[in-house]
Point group: C2
Chain length 339, copies 2
């Protein structure tokens, strides 16, 4: 049981879903505090049938807080997380700011729950595109080792927030009526288009999103030498990131073994019947907590090569669901301590 | 100079563009015949300012024809191509029906023009997703050899014809207004969605489109052992196929060499300035004859690994443009013969 739980960024695209996940996952807490910037503070939100006034995000707001679940931009996290940690709270942070800090565990409960034990006040939740890939690859890693990953993403606009979802709708209406709009949330008009850039230019021609997939995957799996090659692309889909994943295991696996591994993996739902046109698609996977896997194939030439298609709700498992799952791990520990 | 040129399937999505490409490329012919099924025969089309009545596709229609450029479904090609060949015509066929026939050259003029010499009446033009990939990879193959290709496609709906383009528009309007429509051209509603299936289940979990990319690429390059792993995905884009291509060359190349190779390659336009948000996107590449390449990167771990993003108008270089270019190769030979 968590005495006082604070949700930071409660009014944003992900924060709203964090509140929903609190109920879906039945995270046990005694008291709930909703915190947001001055723009949203003062608003009232209903959680589990109860009205909560959104309070201003400031240092003193954390005086009586035990656990924080936070969905904010990196710069906001950089500022407020130390306020909470100094006051003894444990922060589950969904921003990228602390993820690669060696003192901060980067946790997916199905993959590396034991990592939270090393926390020093901050536990980071990974990038959305990383999370679903790592959840899907975990059973293959455990069964046969992993040498390399080559991934191409098809990422929904909601990864860039509520305003980006509105922009896709308005840009689509604009292009349908022959009056294209000037993009604000994206570099270019995303309607009926693809933008092969997510984030900024980071290094050697790779974007920040692509580099996150390399380093976060290595950190979560604890394999510094894992080869990861990512190409991240924005597509005109509202919710649900899709990924075309190719990997090479250390030991070869039979197709039937691979399917069994996916079928039995925590957090994974296998949906793979090509002849009956069954495979994961973003419009079907939105709102579900799972990572969906389909189109599973063995490479025709490389005995250790495996291709598959992976879809997950980027706002759920890619963000809110994972953070609340980390909160549940913490709540279990609180119970143990007080027992 | 071609004496009599017949365009078969002249009223379809690709056929219409073949007629436009005849003028763009100034294919030299004396007389033009437009042929189509009974549904479209009798219609009048204007080509190069001149009215042409569409004639019925039947054996006798080829009595006086020298060269045919055909854009029809596979089953139509299977029936009419023999009629034309028996009457001495040379058929440039865009369907998949004859592509893997060992007696039929599969030709991309920038890549393997010499292959047309072996023709026995039929020359096939490759699948749209294959063509742009092969054009882009050709300079890398020539400079450093090619060991393997791993490609994920983002394919526009126009690959499935005019009705598919209309379906994307209507499905989008339907979903925007909360009244989703029943799909006809696709397996599922493509609006704001992704469908990881193009074609039917072919072998070992791969679709017919994915298998085409394997076998056609090997045939055009003349490398039976080339490893090709493809994942083909339909995206809600009207025109322009995009591909995330990873390849390994036999010899390592420097990034500057790779960029120079793309810059100087026939049929390729390099558009690669990530910091200034410049890269190929389908809405910008529609209507252009070139294969556009951007996001060029060396793999961070594999010295011979190269990633890039490739976009091309699937109706132009992916179909009509390539077929008319083959027609030009033939016209050059006709000139030589009569000279």
């Amino acid at each position: 049981m968590i005495k006082t739980l604070a949700v930071v960024g409660a009014t944003g695209a992900v924060g709203t879903i964090v509140l929903d996940e609190l109920q879906r996952q039945q995270l046990p807490y005694e008291r709930l505090k909703l915190l947001a910037s001055s723009r949203s503070a003062g608003n009232t939100l209903v959680v589990d049938g109860q009205e909560h006034q959104v309070e201003l995000l400031c240092p003193e707001a954390f005086d009586d807080v035990d656990v924080v679940i936070a969905s904010t931009p990196d710069d906001v996290a950089a500022e407020f997380v130390p306020w909470a940690v100094e006051r003894g709270a444990i922060v589950v942070d969904e921003s990228a700011f602390f993820r690669m800090d060696p003192q901060v565990p980067l946790v997916i409960p199905e993959v590396n729950p034991e990592a939270i034990d090393a926390h020093q006040g901050i536990i980071a939740s990974p990038n959305c595109s990383t999370t679903q890939m790592v959840v899907a690859l975990k059973p293959l890693l455990d069964a046969a080792g992993l040498k390399r990953i080559i991934v191409s993403t098809y990422q929904a606009v909601s990864g860039a927030g509520l305003a980006a979802q509105e922009e896709l709708t308005r840009a689509t209406q604009g292009r349908l009526s022959g009056q294209p709009m000037e993009p604000k949330m994206f570099q270019h008009d995303i309607s009926f288009n693809l933008i092969p850039q997510i984030g900024s230019h980071k290094q050697a021609g790779f974007t920040s999103e692509e580099v996150k997939m390399v380093h976060e995957t290595r950190k979560i799996f604890g394999i510094d030498s894992l080869a990861v090659n990512a190409t991240c692309v924005r597509v005109p889909v509202q919710i649900g990131h899709s990924e075309s994943i190719y990997c090479e295991t250390e030991q070869p696996l039979e197709l039937s073994e691979i399917n069994d591994l996916f079928r039995n993996a925590a957090g994974v739902t296998l949906l793979d019947d090509l002849s009956n046109q069954q495979y994961p698609m973003p419009v079907d996977c939105a709102d579900a907590p799972d990572v969906f896997v389909g189109r599973v194939r063995k490479d025709l030439d490389e005995p250790c090569g495996i291709s598959f298609w992976c879809v997950s709700d980027n706002l759920r498992k890619g963000a809110a669901t994972n953070a609340v799952q980390i909160g549940k791990l913490l709540a279990d520990r609180y119970t143990n301590v007080s027992a």
